[in-house]
Amino acid sequence: MLQVRDDDAAAFEELMLRYQHRVLRVLEHLSPSRSEAEDLTQEVFLRVFRARKSYTPDSKFSTWLFTIVHRVASNARRNQARRREAPLPATPSGELAGGGMEQLVQATTGSMPSRVMAKVEMRQIVRAALTHLNPRQRMAVLLNKFEGMSYADIAETMGVSVSAVRSLLSRARVTLKDVLEPYLDQGRPPRSHNGSGTWASQ
């Protein structure tokens, strides 16, 4: 990042290659669609480039980067709430479609071999379970699970206290446990959640 700060274009491309899939992975679970997540990822890197001169290596680069991710996602959520677009559930690729979670799982897995079907179904169920979390809980979960961030780093990224992060993660994990319990115990998909995968549900 220090090379990017000194206007090294190659270093910026290298930085993108290293982090873009991580940023996209987090934003995919915070956005209503894959295309929206891609747009937001591009916006994140645009902001990184614009803010390159203000970067100081005081904190970890990933913390600085995901602070921007958090801001971009929060802004997008606010804009979406202002526009009040009609929410639509997510398809396997994250695109929008109609129908409830169970119908969606059936529609997606109906013509697949059983092992592949089970895998796709499981992904759908886990994805649906994430929509039961509020956006702050979801962000904390994604940073903790996928980025391996400590509570202190998550707190810095989200601009909250460590105890708030502890509370967010505890509630999120209890919600995930409650939602996924029927699937884990009996293989049943969890109950549907209104507006799955949309900003409006967050």
Binding site: F12, E13, M16, L17, Q20, H21, L24, R25, E28, H29, E38, T41, Q42, F45, L46, F49, R50, K119, M122, R123, I125, V126, R127, A129, L130, V141, N144, K145, S150, Y151, R166, S167, L169, S170, R173, V174, L176, K177, V179, L180, E181, Y183, L184
Partner: protein, 179 residues
């Protein structure tokens, strides 16, 4: 001997999750481990928390193609180009402002210089005009060669009396005083 089962309330769940995340102080962690050892219900709660957490790993890995990287880089370049263009557009306005400021400063400096020179020139002119009667008869006074006689003539107002002059304008040596 089995101890009474603590209620799995929000406070305990906070500790259990923090324990799983390795975020508890050693003393708190030991307390949770004691609970786990003594109470199968707490063990079951932790097992469920872990199992549901592990399921998140089933989420698909995000793939990013080269085209996406390229389009992001292009976006950044376009943004940078736009910034540079707006900076260049702002440059003539800024330069014009600097020229105006420079002209103003030069104008004030020229006015001050003229005013100072003018006052110096006027003072010198005034001094010369005051000494004019003396200068006009300087040759005659030099022929007298007697200061007392000249003083008598001044007393009788036969020679013009010059007003007292500022120190700066007094001649360093009075040709009459030498005689």
């Amino acid at each position: 001997m089995s101890r009474p089962l603590p209620e799995i309330d929000e406070a305990l769940q906070l500790d259990l999750v923090a324990y799983l995340d390795g975020e508890l102080e050693p003393e708190q962690a030991r307390r949770v481990e004691q609970l786990l050892y003594n109470h199968p219900a707490v063990q079951e709660e932790v097992r469920k928390l872990e199992a549901s957490w592990d399921l998140l790993e089933e989420l698909p890995q995000t793939q990013v193609d080269e085209q996406f990287t390229q389009s992001t880089v292009e976006l950044v370049i376009a943004d940078l180009t736009q910034q540079l263009q707006s900076q260049q557009q702002a440059l003539p306005r800024q330069a014009r402002r600097w020229w105006l400021l420079l002209a103003l400063v030069l104008g004030v400096a020229a006015f001050a210089t003229v005013a100072v020179l003018d006052s110096v020139w006027l003072a010198r002119e005034r001094h010369l005009s005051q000494q004019l009667p003396l200068l006009q008869r300087l040759e005659q006074y030099e022929e007298v060669r007697d200061i007392q006689f000249l003083e008598q003539m001044i007393q009788q107002k036969l020679v013009p009396i010059l007003p007292p002059q500022p120190q700066d304008w007094q001649p360093r040596s009075d040709p009459l005083s030498k005689r």
